[in-house]
């Protein structure tokens, strides 16, 4: 899971789980669940548990896609804007070019792939830092979305069959987004944790040169993660459109930062080389449960935002503290 040996690696298994970043976060999540069960209305209900998944789906998809990107030591700020561009293209292809919806969807995913490739080639061929490349594409994609719609055009009146994807329920209870999200989470989990490609990503994050010398095709792997990121972002856009019943240029505004928050909260190091899909999922749910819990307790929505910011700092600072303490102990030979 991690590329470097942590000072806590010699600890007994349970202690390691509890002390690890993911362990602490999981405890935090449980704490949130307990608190809100008491003060929230209808918090402890199957309805709510399923709604929470639906709420987190779009940002969750972005967070899943960003996890391998950040593990390789990169970052992708353009995913939110790509959602906007994809949403608009999807709407335009369906309404103005009269593409059937499945074809429009496929075309949108193709555009997402192209966008990912654009990012990837600037990063791998020209060696431009990912932060800058995706800052530029962040503006470019949103700008294209705004340009194509003159900033105001809005695509609506999608057929009910399509809206089912984002708003419907299987068997009256399971949100349609749940299986979709679970599938993507599973896919990324397998890629990252069960394949050689995944292991290679950690190596790249730890040291690109070292990875290269070890025979890993660094450029190809990096291209893969940005390509996937683009495809997932445009898929998230389709989900967003079906969820809200409208496609507008401002779709996904601010989502990239929220997704990055979930990823970092979940224990992925922004410098690369460390992180897990499970961690990202826990980070995501910690945030979504907080938001939903506050809403159901009639609390101010802004408090969620404040707590998330504080949580992020605390989580990272605590992690450093624990690691520092642990290394002190092991060095004393305890």
């Amino acid at each position: 899971m991690s590329a470097q040996a942590l000072p806590t690696d010699s600890y007994p298994r349970v202690r390691r789980i509890v002390l690890s970043h993911e362990g602490v976060l999981a405890l935090l999540l449980v704490a949130e669940l307990v608190v809100f069960s008491v003060i929230g209305r209808n918090f402890r209900s199957t309805d709510n548990a399923l709604e929470i998944v639906r709420l987190g789906a779009e940002i969750g998809l972005l967070a899943l896609a960003l996890t391998p990107v950040i593990i390789t030591g990169g970052i992708d700020l353009s995913v939110g804007s790509l959602m906007g561009l994809s949403a608009v293209l999807f709407g335009k292809l369906w309404r103005d070019a009269h593409f059937p919806l499945p074809v429009a969807m496929a075309a949108t995913l193709a555009v997402g792939a192209l966008a990912g490739l654009l990012n990837a080639s600037l990063i791998t061929r020209l060696r431009i830092p990912p932060l800058i490349v995706t800052l530029g594409s962040f503006s470019l994609f949103r700008g294209l979305a705004e340009g194509l719609t003159a900033g105001v055009d809005n695509f609506t009146n999608f057929p009910d069959a399509f809206l089912f994807l984002g708003q419907g329920y299987f068997f009256g209870a399971i949100p349609a987004q749940l299986p979709v999200f679970a599938a993507v989470a599973l896919g990324y989990g397998l890629l990252l944790h069960r394949t050689g490609i995944g292991r290679g990503l950690y190596a790249i994050g730890h040291s690109p040169e070292g990875a290269r010398h070890a025979g890993i095709p660094v450029e190809r792997r990096v291209t893969l993660v940005y390509l996937l990121s683009g495809i997932v972002a445009s898929f998230a856009a389709v989900l967003y459109v079906s969820h809200n019943g409208q496609a507008k240029a401002d779709a996904g505004t601010g989502y990239e930062l929220r997704a990055i928050t979930a990823v970092v909260l979940g224990g992925t190091s922004i410098f690369g080389g460390r992180g897990t899909i499970a961690g990202t999922l826990i980070g995501l749910f910690a945030i979504v449960v907080l938001q939903q819990g506050l809403l159901l307790s009639d609390g101010p929505a802004e408090l969620a935002g404040i707590l998330v910011g504080v949580l992020l700092i605390t989580a990272i600072a605590a992690n450093r503290l624990v690691t520092a303490l642990a290394s002190r102990r092991t060095s004393k030979g305890v």
Binding site: G73, L122, P129, L135, G136, L140, E146, G147, T149, I313
Partner: protein, 318 residues
């Protein structure tokens, strides 16, 4: 010297080219009223860009300045509305900025939290705290003594523009001539080497964040005195605007390279595109797309240049 400042000169050249097109297609752009509006609107961005240049030179980043700007603007407006004398308002506002900067600095230099994560957290926390307290309400009907700092509008505008440029010159000189300035470059290029040379990187990093905070507050103040109302969320998106301008102007995100004149050129260039569009017959809503394209072209050309000079050992990470 031409070689060394190739980026700054290219951006200045691009700006001149744009102005030339405007001169030919639509000389009305150069009407006094319009030019004035453009430069006055760019001035606060220039002030913020000074701070961001320092931060990026030190190999850090600060994405929280948008939220800082909003809060400082509100603080200034609320104090002014209470009848607090303008100089005190100004001091309090700058002090607020310094406080925010200090918090960022403590998180990054003290707790060793990566600057992008620390400022992401503070950005979200302060933005939501502000929304909660203000409930999105604007501070309205600011007193006349606060508007344009009590001066007439032309005088106030001149003051804003002149202070932006004066600060730019001051900091540009400081970066070159003062040991503190050189320390910023040193820490950004190689913090370990700087430390061995006797510089204290945590102190330098802390310092640039505090300066960023103060300059952001000043930027907010210069904006607040222009309008009768201070709107919450006024600063949204400022950080990306400023970072883009710095990057286009040649300030390298990997630290240690870049100049303030370059950042200035970046701000002026990107800041002219928006206002120029209606005069060129293009719709305003293509502005973001154009800016994004320019950012990519600028950094791509930079990288191509660099490749010709350096070997392929450059890392893929930031």
């Amino acid at each position: 010297m031409m070689r060394k400042h190739l980026r700054e000169i290219s951006v200045a050249g691009a700006l001149l080219f744009l102005l030339l097109i405007l001169l030919v297609r639509s000389p009305k752009f150069f009407d006094a009223a319009n030019l004035r509006a453009v430069i006055v609107s760019d001035a606060p961005v220039i002030v913020a860009a000074i701070g961001m240049t320092l931060v990026i030179l030190a190999r850090q980043i600060d994405i929280s300045i948008g939220s800082q700007f909003s809060i400082c603007g509100m603080v200034a407006g609320l104090l002014a509305k209470q009848g607090v004398p303008t100089p005190v308002v100004a001091l309090a506002t700058l002090g607020t900025g310094a406080l925010f900067g200090a918090i960022n600095g403590a998180l990054v230099a003290g707790l060793r939290i990566p600057s992008i994560v620390a400022t992401l957290a503070t950005m979200v926390t302060w933005r939501e705290a502000m929304r909660w307290i203000s409930e999105g309400q604007a501070v309205q009907n600011l007193p006349e003594s606060f508007l344009w700092l009590g001066m007439s509008r032309p005088a106030g505008q001149a003051l804003i523009v002149l202070s932006a440029f004066a600060l730019l010159l001051l900091f540009a000189w400081g970066l070159r001539a003062l040991p503190a300035g050189r320390a910023v470059y040193a820490v950004g290029s190689d913090a370990e080497a700087a430390r061995l040379a006797g510089i204290r990187p945590p102190l330098v990093v802390f310092g640039v964040f505090v300066l960023m905070g103060v300059l952001t507050a000043l930027s907010a103040l210069l904006t607040a005195i222009q309008f009768r109302n201070v709107l919450p969320g006024e600063g949204a998106g400022l950080e990306l605007k400023v970072i883009a301008a710095c990057v286009v102007g040649g300030v390298a995100i990997s630290g240690g390279r870049g100049t303030l004149p370059g950042a200035l050129a970046g701000v002026l260039f990107l800041g002219t595109i928006g206002p120029a569009l209606p005069f060129l017959g293009t719709q305003a809503y293509w502005e973001k797309a154009l800016q994004g394209a320019i950012i990519l072209i600028a950094v791509a050309s930079d990288a191509i240049n660099l490749r010709r000079r350096r070997d392929v050992g450059a890392s893929l990470a930031h």
